[in-house]
């Protein structure tokens, strides 16, 4: 069953996806991620730990999240423990431009420099 949960961990916003990310579920995902950035999220973590399918539609959606995050000086990290799904991210070269982590705790343990006290100012890569 598809589902999305949004929660905050410090300066990072975690968007957890459950179920299948495809053409049928794309509108809900796009709406949730657009809303999250409009509500102030900058450093977005899309957690695919509960996701059991992704295809080119999902890859395009993640590209859209990256664009929206960068527009506000933010970042995107994708958490993807499933090697089947990571293969899709690799074959489409998404993993060349997006940080892909195998574990959520790893992603949250390495926040962007400007998301920690005393870090770099916003807007820098």
């Amino acid at each position: 069953m598809f589902g999305i949960e949004v929660h905050h961990r410090g300066a990072q916003t975690v968007i957890a996806v459950g179920g299948e990310l495809d053409l049928a579920t794309a509108p809900a995902f796009r709406q949730a991620t657009t809303n999250a950035v409009a509500d102030g999220a900058r450093h977005v973590v899309v957690d695919l730990s509960g996701c059991d399918h992704i295809d080119s539609i999902g890859v395009g959606l993640l590209l859209g999240v990256l664009k929206r995050a960068r527009t506000v000086g933010g970042t995107l990290v994708v958490v993807c423990p499933d090697p089947r799904l990571r293969r899709v991210l690799d074959l489409t070269d998404l993993s060349r431009i997006v940080t892909v982590s195998e574990r959520l705790d790893e992603a949250l343990a390495s926040p962007p420099p400007d998301a920690v006290p005393g870090g770099a100012p916003a807007g820098r890569d």
Binding site: L23, A24, D55, L63, G64, V88, I97
Partner: protein
């Protein structure tokens, strides 16, 4: 061993999951196919069926998509046929490289390359009255 399985679905996104499930389950019947090959099949069927559903979005009828699996000892051949407006696979525009910021403006363009990488054979026959995609996956990856 061998057989033919046919599935006809309405050209609507909510049936995409069913198409993946049926084809992957059919492939699982053949015990010599490894899980990684079945996963390849699941993704490429999703890509082709997604394209078929999207080809119907401009139409207002209750069109159907036909999915046919020919199961064999060492290969699975899948045909996906729609009645939507066709396209020219060779006429698609070149996309910016992933490192180019302009690529972020285009969410599409990943499906056909993914199909060509994951399928051992991929063939697209498209006309004004529909598109037929043939995808073949062998027991072992050819690359």
């Amino acid at each position: 061993v061998g057989g033919v399985i046919e599935l006809e679905i309405p050209a609507r996104p909510e049936y995409l999951s069913l198409a993946r499930l049926v084809v992957a389950s059919a492939a699982s019947v053949e015990p010599t196919f490894r899980d990684e090959r079945i996963e390849d099949l699941r993704v490429i069927v999703s890509e082709a069926t997604t394209n078929a559903i999207e080809a119907h979005t401009a139409l207002d009828g209750d069109e159907r998509i036909l999915i046919r699996c020919n199961l064999d000892d060492d290969r699975i051949e899948v045909w996906i046929e729609d009645q939507g407006a066709g396209f020219s696979p060779g006429g698609l525009p070149d996309l910016p490289d992933m490192d180019d910021p302009a690529r972020l403006d285009i969410e599409g363009g990943f499906g056909l390359p993914l199909m060509s990488v994951l399928a051992d054979e991929a063939e697209i026959r498209s006309s004004d009255t529909g598109t037929a995609v043939k995808l073949v996956v062998y027991q072992k990856r050819s690359t």
